[in-house]
Symmetry: C2
Subunit: 263 residues, 2 copies
């Protein structure tokens, strides 16, 4: 039996790294260059992926389609593969309810939907990155990654569960990054930055480094995290929990990425 062909929509840094793992395991990897940016072209070429040209050709050739994109684009990307009847894996940082919307869209076309959530950096070595999966076809997707540097874990057979793991995880990592940036802004506004940082050095000694790291990441990736924070906020609200932490975090990242000279 020929190995399944995997179609990748649309290769950003994370998507390319995940796709490269599958290609290294022997799966033909295709992407579609139509309407993609020069950056995306460069990444896909460098990774040696096959260019299907159009999305419709990618759909025709793929057994499995992998969507790894900014959260606000997830639903639109799912709607861009009409007629696909294979396994559609949405590996985006979206709310469980959004994942269920994605499933409804692709299942209406005859595909099976697997919900995914990636925790960790673009996978290049073992132990850094988990791919949480849920939905009836989740085990078949986990199988694609068996023995690779991506630790694929099936959470449950329900679409939404893998996204819930991702939302709850990022609620802490990115929520606290935003909080720390806001606290630093507060201390500066009140003229007590020095006293605060000195207190941190005494009793919360990891915070100065964490602040620096948060500021750097927010400047580069903040624009993409705004949508992720909004997805987390709606996840909290849907569970009857306060959405204010992550709506505030969205505001912080919106402001950070609008201030490229931030230090």
């Amino acid at each position: 039996m020929a190995p399944q062909t995997v179609g990748l929509l649309h290769p950003g840094e994370m998507g390319v790294a995940v796709g490269a793992v599958l290609r290294d395991r022997g799966y033909p990897l295709v992407w579609a260059s139509a309407e993609r940016s020069e950056d995306t072209h460069g990444r896909a070429e460098a990774a040696g992926f096959d260019d299907a040209g159009s999305i419709s050709e990618l759909v025709r050739r793929s057994d499995v389609i992998l969507s790894v994109c900014p959260p606000h684009a997830a639903l639109e990307v799912a709607a861009s593969v009409p007629g696909f009847e294979g396994v559609f894996v949405d590996a985006n940082a979206i709310a469980p309810a959004t994942a269920r919307d994605v499933a409804a869209v692709v299942e209406a076309e005859g595909a099976e939907c697997v919900d995914g959530g990636i925790v960790g950096p673009p996978p290049r070595e073992p132990g850094t990155t988990r791919l949480y999966l849920s939905g009836p076809a989740a085990p078949s997707v986990a199988e694609l990654f068996a023995g690779s540097v991506v630790d694929a874990r099936v959470v449950s057979d329900e679409v939404g569960a893998a996204s819930a793991v991702k939302m709850a995880y990022a609620a802490w990592t990115k929520g606290t990054a935003a909080l720390l940036l806001a606290i630093h802004d507060l201390a500066r506004a009140e003229g007590v930055e020095q006293a605060l940082v000195e207190e941190w050095r005494l009793s919360l000694s990891q915070l100065p480094d964490r602040l620096e790291c948060a500021a750097r990441s927010a400047q580069v990736k903040g624009w993409r995290w705004v949508g992720e924070m909004e997805e987390i906020a709606s996840t909290f609200a849907a569970a009857g929990l306060p959405d204010g932490f992550h709506l505030a975090a969205a505001d912080v990242f919106r402001a950070s990425s609008a201030e490229p000279q931030r230090k």
Copy 2:
């Protein structure tokens, strides 16, 4: 010259510990038993403080008055010492704007106001607890604690600065405790608690312990933290920063302390 007499309003766990430090340094320590609870009586008696009986007698006998109370009561406590013309130290977890309101109230009576903020547990050994102070008379209050287990630090000569340090500090410690409790509730609501905790053990290994600690503290002290979170939220808002983190945190602590069987 006789040592200054210190009046303590109203001796909770923190207030008693701070008062005991001053008594051990030789300052006469008085409190006022009128209208106080049995618990407060017990703590003040055990600490060996002198009972002035009424607040008016405490005012008459004190050179310095120390207010250590839940944040929502700070302004009312400041208004309870008419005619006091000594140094009034507000060491509560309140917004800089609230500290300025406290100063206006006591200064109208002829007192000098020193803004204070305590970081750390009730002081019993060196190195654990800082008392941030600000306002023109802050150095004289720092002097009272010289060489004691309370590390008293003058932040600036402006009332509000010490409170700003406290707000910015607690914004992290208690804000993240609330966030963690909310994330745990989310993971339970979505049925992914086990997957999340397992992921934490791999990549954020301190979080399971931190969650347990947050749940325990919130159950005991959450009722008092609601007011503190509201003060922090208004501190952020006054600086033009998002107040949503700590309004959400107030909701979390309100719910935690309403659920005494929480685990």
